[in-house]
């Protein structure tokens, strides 16, 4: 795997992770974290870890963001 590809994937993951951590609105954060999950999976594929990438796609790009969205929805219309 070429040097440049690994650098690009690592940089994208670093930038996206920072964006997720520093986005303070949880609804937007959920969408961003889904994108971050996909980018992590791409990095794992570049690092020759297809098993981990598959797992990351399912968990990081779908399952966890879905749980966050549902939590935000519950809290938004929470009892006041």
């Amino acid at each position: 795997m070429s040097d440049a590809l690994a650098v690009v994937a690592l940089t994208l993951v670093g930038v996206a992770g920072t964006a997720v951590a520093w986005t303070f609105d949880p609804a937007r954060q959920a969408v961003l974290s889904s994108v971050f999950g996909v980018l992590l999976a791409v990095l794992f594929t570049v690092l020759q870890a297809p098993d981990v990438a598959l797992s990351q796609i399912g968990v990081g790009a779908a399952l966890v963001p879905l749980m966050v969205v549902l939590t935000v929805r519950r809290i938004r219309r929470g009892p006041r």
Partner: protein, 250 residues
């Protein structure tokens, strides 16, 4: 602690961590180097047990005990979330309400994707010892695939496909089955989770001994666990109305 004090604590901690990390880097193997002693041992052990996917071999054969621990964590968190999110006191389930609202074409697409996703999930579980994938990946695909029905706006058909009690039972049963496979190894092979089934021939579907068995067990555990977890969150987000807890005046 005020926000400012929190930041000060963070900066102190982060600076300490950064210094320790830079020192640790000095002792790290160079990125991309060719010296991986654990790799050499794990690959040799996987080949001895006729398992082409070395990661599956590590997870379900060489270090299967760790995976049992992980299963227990999953079980514990499912039980914990279910206990935390159970309906209490005056919370009522709202009787009628569809899920999301999407254009019909997208809804239909989700419907059509459902069987495809379930098939992919089963395939990923079944070939976990041969190709990338396995119980974890396939289980997550199965659980998320089922929730395409929610995206399609068919929350009620999702509920029909999801008799929750069965999934809760499945989660417990697969954790028990994992221990059962371990005890079988203890009885027949002399050690807990020993790989006692016939190993078969390389790259055949029925090979690698207990690895595919544990893959299926873990696939069930992850799929049912994730479905039960998501069900709790869906219930909270969609079905519950009213019902403020005590002291919610703030």
């Amino acid at each position: 602690m005020s926000g400012r004090a929190r930041l000060v604590v963070f900066v102190l901690g982060a600076a300490g961590l950064a210094v320790a990390f830079v020192f640790a880097l000095g002792g790290m193997p160079p990125f991309g180097g060719s010296e991986h002693p654990y790799r050499d041992l794990a690959v040799a052990a996987a080949l001895r047990h006729v398992t082409p996917n070395v990661v599956s071999s590590v997870n379900f054969d060489q270090r299967a005990l760790d995976t049992l621990g992980e299963e227990t964590i999953l079980l514990g968190s499912v039980i914990g979330a279910a206990a935390l999110l159970r309906l209490v006191g005056h919370e009522k389930e709202r009787p009628e309400r569809a899920g999301g609202r999407l254009p019909d074409a997208i809804g239909l697409g989700c419907y059509l994707l459902l069987p495809v996703t379930l098939l992919i999930g089963l395939d990923v579980v079944a070939h976990g010892h041969l190709t990338p994938g396995g119980g974890f990946q396939g289980g997550v695909v199965l659980a998320t695939g089922l929730h395409l029905l929610y995206l399609a706006g068919r929350y009620r058909s999702l509920e029909r496909l999801r008799p929750l009690a069965w999934y809760e039972f499945g989660e417990g049963a697969s954790a028990t089955a994992f221990v059962g496979v371990g005890l079988a190894g203890l009885a027949a092979g002399g050690s807990f989770l020993a790989n006692v089934l016939p190993l078969g021939s390389f790259r055949e579907l029925l090979s690698a001994g207990t690895v595919p068995v544990l893959n299926i067990v873990v696939g069930c555990a992850v799929a049912t666990g994730a479905v039960v977890l998501l069900a709790q969150f869906l219930e909270q987000a969609i079905r519950i109305t009213g019902g403020a807890g005590p002291g919610s005046s703030g």
